[in-house]
Structure formats: C-alpha cells, structure tokens
C-alpha cells in the first residue's frame, strides 16, 4: 500500500489548508503549482498524464482530427487513464467505503455503465461504415480496370454509388428532421421501388431498440459536478481523481458519438471544467474544434464526423457527378478524371479497410476494461463495508 507522502501515519492537513487558502485567495490557480499540490502524488500524476495526452490529441492537424487513427489514439488515451485511475482506486481502497467517497465512486461506476451501451452502439456504427466501405469496394472494382472504361463498368459503378448514397441518406434521415426527408435525389426517385425494399432492410441495422438515444446516454454520463472543497478534503483528494476520470470518460464517449454513426446522435454537451484543473484547457479546445467541424456547412447533416465518412461522402458525390457527366464514347480526359478520382477513393477505402477492424477491437477492449474496473471497484467497496 502506498505510504503517505511525508511518511506520517495520518494525512497532513497543513498542505490541504494551504491549498484551500490559496484557492480562496486566487481562484485561477493551477493545481500543479507547487504551493497547492495535493497530498497524493498519484492524483497529481493522473492529472499530468491527462493534460499531456490531451494536449497531444489536440495538437493534431485538422485533417487528422476525428480520423480513424485519431479515434484510435483517443481510445488509447482512455485506456491508459482508466488504468491509472483503477490503480489509484486500488491503492486507496480503505477510503472507498467512507462517505463522501463511496457516493462519488459509486456514481462514477453507474455512469460508466452508460458508457457500455455507447460502446455497443459504436460497434454497430463501425459495422455500418463497413457496409459503406463494401460499396466503395464495388465502385473501385468496377472502375479500377485495366481495360478502357466501358459503359458497363460505369453503370455498375453508378449503381453501387446510388446504393451508397441511399444508405448514407437513410442514416441521416433517422437523425435529421423531416424537412430533409423528402429531398429528391436523382436516380433515388427512379429506383424508389427498389429503394423502399432496401430501406426496409437497412433500418434493421441497430441492435438496440428504437427508443435508445445516444444523446440521452451522454446526458446521463455527464451528470456530475466539479468536487467541492470539503469533498476534496474529506477524500484526501480522491474526489479530484474521480472528477478527472469522469471528465475524460465523458469526453471520450462524446467524441465517439460525434464521430461514428449511432442512433439519435446529439452533440449538445457542455464541458464546464473549472480553470483550476489544468487538463481542462486541452479538453475544452478539442471540444471547440470538434463543434466547429460539426457546424461546417458540408458536415452539418452528416451521420458521423469521422473524417473518413466525409471522405466517402466527398469521393462518392464527386464520382457520381463525374459519371453522370460521361458520354459515350468516353473521351480520354474524362477517363483520366475518372482514374484520378478512383485513386482518391482508393485512399479512403484503404484507410477504412485497415483501420476499422483494429478500431472495433479497441472499442471492445474499452468495453471490457470499463466492466472490469467497475466490478473490481464495487467489490472493493463491498469488502470495505464488512
């Protein structure tokens, strides 16, 4: 068991006292400031870790933000923080069963269960993206051809592109308001009979009931507040660890929902982290950047902010335009344009092909770790009550 910082057997109050006083004097105080560092260096370490890693996440170029690889990094960060948090909890198990710690930690575990449903929804969403990836595959198969492009290939590609657009439109429909629902869509109308039967099949893609809502889950996950000073004191600073992990958890879940298609994807989520927590800044900045991305015109009705989804949308619509404009016999410049667009599409496709499976595994790993952490944590609390 971790020994006290100063080697005394009881918590050293003076450090706390000092930190409280300085907080009162100067509200904008960073917790890393030497005068105000907490008794418990583990908690300090956690906060530093969170700060550093979120700074890394937020200092990416805009083309990397919300890409498959970035999401993967985000999940990595989550798993690391989770492990550190678990260690802190384990090292301080004697405090767990006392109030207010017991309530704080039990509430945290309750919220973490909500995250499990989000993980499952994300898994579904990744599967959905995989379907679109398969459509791209058909288009690439049709157009990526040694022989000169013929009408047959173009028609094949167009058909796949139509299906893709319909599929993505269905996705959006289930998330946007009625005004957009009747948007006409070229061949969409012509193939409406086929579309209706397709639509029926597609709407069965979620493994949760129709009433499940990602935004409601996020609301529940976000239902916590910064710790009060008396809580921090009474829990030897552990309340800060719980708060830190809660914010990390919320952010990760929120970002996943923002990026990946899922049912009732609402992005309204406020992060009001007090300035005294230094890791709040990178989180706020990331939140802002992602919200900015969401507000961009071309992304406003997207089914997921994942960069690769945008890539699919762009290359698909570009390709549709292109193929629409083709007249036979095909001119060389047109063919060149098609080949170029195919190369673009290939990049998107390859990215998805290599990235989706590992991402799914990571989400699953996150699921497991959340469960494990909760089970073990609840066990510790129960044993402490004996």
């Amino acid at each position: 068991m971790r020994t006290d910082y100063h080697g005394s057997s009881s918590p050293n109050i003076t450090n706390f006292g000092r930190s409280i006083l300085s907080m009162k004097r100067d509200p904008v105080v960073h917790s890393i400031d030497h005068e105000t560092h907490y008794q418990d260096s583990e908690i300090e370490a956690l906060q530093r870790q969170v700060t550093r890693r979120f700074h890394e996440l937020s200092s990416v170029e805009s083309h990397e933000l919300l890409s498959v690889s970035w999401i993967s990094k985000l999940l990595d960060v989550f798993l690391c923080c989770q492990e550190e948090f678990k260690a802190i909890i384990f090292n301080n198990k004697s405090v767990l069963s006392k109030q207010p710690m017991e309530k704080l930690i039990s509430d945290y575990f309750e919220r973490s269960v909500k995250g499990l449903d989000v993980c499952n929804a994300i898994r579904d969403g990744l599967e959905q993206i995989r379907q679109w990836q398969k459509q791209l595959e058909i288009v690439l198969c049709a157009l990526d051809y040694q022989k000169p492009l013929g009408e047959g290939q173009i028609r094949r590609a167009k058909k796949a592109l139509t299906d893709l657009e319909i599929g993505m439109l269905d996705e959006k429909e289930s998330n946007t308001n009625l005004a957009h629902r009747n948007r006409s869509f070229g061949r969409y109308q012509k193939d409406s009979q086929r579309h209706n039967s397709l639509k029926h099949f597609r709407s069965l893609s979620w493994s949760v009931s129709r009433s499940w809502s990602a935004s409601k889950q996020l609301q529940a996950i976000g239902n916590f507040f910064p710790p009060k000073t008396n809580e921090i004191l009474a829990t030897n600073g552990l309340a800060v660890a719980v708060y830190t992990m809660s914010c990390v958890f919320l952010f990760v879940m929120w970002a996943l929902v923002a990026a990946i298609p899922c049912q009732d994807r609402g992005l309204q989520c406020h992060f009001n982290i007090p300035k005294s927590f230094i890791w709040g800044a990178p989180i706020h900045s990331l939140h802002e950047r992602i919200m900015d991305e969401a507000k961009k015109r071309e992304r406003r009705n997207t089914c997921g902010l994942l960069k690769e989804i945008h890539g699919i949308e762009k290359s698909a619509s570009f390709m549709i335009e292109l193929t629409d404009s083709i007249q036979f016999p095909i001119r060389e410049e047109k063919e060149e344009e098609v080949r170029k667009q195919v190369e673009e599409m290939k990049i998107v496709y390859e990215g998805l092909k290599t990235g989706l499976d590992p991402l799914e595994k990571q989400v699953r790993e996150a699921f497991h770790r959340i469960v494990k952490s909760r089970t073990e944590g609840l066990d510790l609390i129960a044993r402490g009550n004996e």
Binding site: N120, I138, G150, G152, A382
Partner: protein, 617 residues
Amino acid sequence: MESPDNGLQKAQQIVLRWDSTVSEDARARMIFQSDRQEIDDYLQAVDEIQHFMESITVSDDDQKSQKVNSAIQIAMARLEDEFRNILISHAAPIETESLTESISPIHMSSRASSSLSEFNDSDDYFGRGEDDSVHTIGNLVRGESSTTITSYRSTSSIREMDLIPSDSVHDLRCIAERMITAGYIRECVQVYGSVRKSAVDSSFKKLGVEKLSIGDIQRLQWEVLNAKIGKWIRAAKVCVRVLFASEKRLCNLIFEDLGTDADDACFMETVKAPAIQLFNFAEAISISKRSPEKLFKILDLHDALLDLLPDIDAVFESKSSESIRVQATEIVSRLAEAARGMLSEFENAVLREPSKVPVPGGTIHPLTRYVMNYISLISDYKQTLGELIVSGPTTGSRYSDDSTTPDMDVADHEGRSPLALHLIWIIIVLQFNLEDKSKHYKDNSLAYVFIMNNIHYIVQKIKGSPELREMIGDGYLKKLTGKYRQAATKYQRATWVGVLYCLRDEGLHMTGSFSSGVSKTALRERFKSFNAMFEEVHKMQALWLIPDTQLREELQISISERLIPAYRSFLGRFRTHIEHGRHPENYIKYSVEDLETAVLDFFEGNAVNQHSRRRSN
C-alpha cells in the same frame, strides 16, 4: 449451325430484352418466375457472353468488347434483381410450430416446487435488486419452473432446417455462379446478406429475442428479468442450433465451391449482427449488479451457454467469426465470476443482516428459513457450482480471538470440497448472526428457546436433504445437534431452577424432625412464590412457540420430568400443613394434574385463559 458470333448476338439480344431500365415489360415480369425454358435461355445467354468475355484480349475489337462488356453489366444487374426477388419470396421467419412442446428444463423441475411453498411464505429478503425494490424470494425459483407454455423441443443439438425450397436454392446457385464468375461477388453477397438478415430478424421477433440495451436491462425488476432470462435461454438454443445452423447450411448450398469464400462472407453478412444482438443480452446479464437472489438464474444461464459453446464453435468456425466465439466464451466466464461474486455477497449479507426486532415467541427467524432454502438450492446446483467454486470461503483470521466475527477452522472439515466449505461457512455465519439477534430478547430463557428453535431447524433441513447432508457431513451435523440440545439445557436452567427452588426442602424445617418442625409461614411463602412464578412462566411461555412438534413435546416432557415429581413430592410432604391452616386454597392452587395439563400449554404460541384453569385443588 450458328456461327459463334451469331450465338453471341442472340445472347446479347436476350440480355438486352430483359434490361429493366429500358423495357417496361422487363420491369413487370421476373425471369425466374417464368417457365423453365425462359430461365435456361437467359442463363445460357449469360454463359455465352461470359465465355466470350474470358476469351477476348485488350487488343481485340474495342467496340465489340465494349458492347459485350455492357451486356454483362446489364445481365448482372438483372441477375441481382432476380436473386433478390427469389430471396425475398422465401424470407419468412423460421417455423417454430414444428418444434414441439418441451420437456421441462434441466434444473428447475420438481425440486423447485418443494422449496417454492416455503419461499412464498417467507419474507422478502436482502431487499436489494436492480432498483432496490423489495421482492419475494419466491422469485428465486418461480421464473423457470412454473408453466412453461411455449417451449421448444429440447434443442439439444444442431438441427438444420430447410429455409428455402430446393428448387429455389438451385436457382439461386445458378445465379450466384454466374455473378461470381463475372466478378460480381460483392453485389451478390450484399443482396444475400441484406435479405437473409431481415429474415433472421423476423425469426428473432418470433422467438422473442428482444433489442434491449444494458441500461434497459438494469432498470428491469428482477421478476421480469428472471422470466426474460428463461425465455432467452430457450430462444438462444433455437437460434444457435437451428436458425444459425440452417443459415450456414443455406449459404453452403448456394455458394459452396464457387470460390473466394463466398459462403462464409454471406453467412457473416447474415448472422453477425443478429448473433451480437443475441449475445448482448447474456452479456448485459453477466455484468449486472450482483445480488444473491440472482444466483440460480445466473447459473442456469451459465450452464445453458456453456452447453451451447461447442455448437457456437461449430457454427461460427471460420476466422471471420472469431469475435463471436470469443464473446460467447467471455460471457460464460463472466457469468461464472458473477456467480462466485454472488455467493460471497450472500455470505456477507447473511453476516450483516441487521434486523434487530426479535421474532415474537422465539420462533424460526425468516433469515434462517431463507438461508436454509438458499443452501438447499445450492446443493441442488452442486454440479455446476461445484465446478465454479474452486476456493473456500474467506473466513477471517482463524486464530484471532476476536469474538466480533465468526470463524471457522478449516481443519475441522478436512476433505470437503470448496463448495461444501462455503455451505458450512454460511451456516456458521448464520449462527453467529442468530446469536447476536438472540441478545435482543430481554428474557434469557426466550433467547435460548430462539437459538434452540433455529438451530434445530437448520439440523432438520440438512437431514431432510441427502445432498446437503453429504456435503455438510455428519460430523458438523452432530456438532449442530449438540448446540441446540445445549440451548435447551440452558433454557431449562434459566427458567426452572428458580421455580424448582421454591420446592426445595431446606429452610422449611426448624429442627431435624418431620412434622412439628415445619415453619408454616415459610411454607406458605413457598407455595405462594411457586404459584406466582409458575403462573407467570406459564402465561408467558405459552405464548412462545416451538414450531417443530417433536421438539416441543420433547421439551415439555423434559420440563415435566423435573417439575412434576418435584411438585408431587413437595405436595405430598407439606399439603397437610397447609390444609390444617386457614384458606388452603390460597396456597395450593395447583394439583399435579393441573400442572401436567399446564405444561402442555407451553410453547404452543397461544394465550392461556387463566380463569378456566381453576379446578379442584
């Protein structure tokens, strides 16, 4: 004889005739619903064109190959529609009527009914559940055993059904063959997957497989959840052994040996998401809050899944379905862990059970009933639990003299399985708790009666179940028997020493001789004390209850054996002294027969009417 070119031309014409983007007629009819000749002609045409495609090289006549290329695409698009159409017309959910009424499920048959009645009588216990509401222990057992209305013939092994009639399967294969050869496998897989997946979905609905989130399941009352688990177990067996297995077979029939793992791809497209949805329920159960009353249902679920694992492995044997096999295995081990956790929870709950209100009359405490019923059920499940419980209970320091916690010397129970040790520990903990509860009785005698009653109950329960007896062992049983006998003895002393003291010889004689040496005053005092004490004890202890008839009678006899001879002898020696004095009736209130009758009132749990007792002196 036609030239090859002519044949090709004809083939192209056939294909173009069926181009639904240009021909109204082509849109209105389906090739594969027409006569056989029509179908064969079309397929042959496709083959012809395909054959041509394979033989040409880049340098060949571009225009011609372009046209043929185009024709192939038109044919493929058409075949895709035909494919979809055949599939859609055979997308009905699985037939469940052919799976007949069930044999009752493995665990919960007759033993459930015997413990059920006791459970239904006992109070709500450890009132925790997902939503902290209080629920009866009857729920422990009720869900599965009662009336299983629709169940499926014990789906104990893989049974593939024909999902699509064989001539349609043949047609589908014909189409698939052409599509795959032409490089249109992806389109084929996609169409297949989307239609079959929706068929599986409608089968799911029919089988009662629900789309519940983990949050939904957490919010359900245990009663409801209990029933859902039972339903899920039955449905899962059908899903894995019949539904998924049949889908796999269908994929094989249509796509086998057509190259590029099409059969596996189609199978995955069809069942991956439904399988995940199915297992998500079991997974949610495995991670839900652990409370003791869920133990047996969790064990049922564990056993059912464990039983299904070989079939899951068989049906999902390919590499691409690894995640499903992994998930199923994970769920089984989580359920096992949950079961272990629940057993520990139970042990803690028994220890911590805090009710302080003494049970009136010193009778069996509801906790005792609950715990013994629970233990009985555990012994019923000993096969599964025996395998899951591999370590003994955490019993606290064996060597501490701390009397505030129970302890168990494991050496006393050598050779017992870990599960048996847990059972013994539970009994130890129960006794510890009961001892504590007995301290809340103001009257020591009642406390002893209480202990005696409850430990006797424990002993009876163990004796009544051969499995339980075998697990706990006769050694410990003997110890328990000794304990309740000891309690009986303590009771005797606590109540009757005082009463019998009134009937002692010393202090009544002034000299050593018999007659004239007796102090009449003292004698009168003695009789008065005895009457008062006996009346008090009689009135009070008639209200006490020893539910077990034999035990009650034994104790009554034991009381009589001390009381009656003592009184008879006292009366015999001293009655004449009282009868020669004034108002003898004030002092000799009881005849020996009166006392004998009165003793029979003890521990009956009924109030005695004092006035009716007055009889001849």
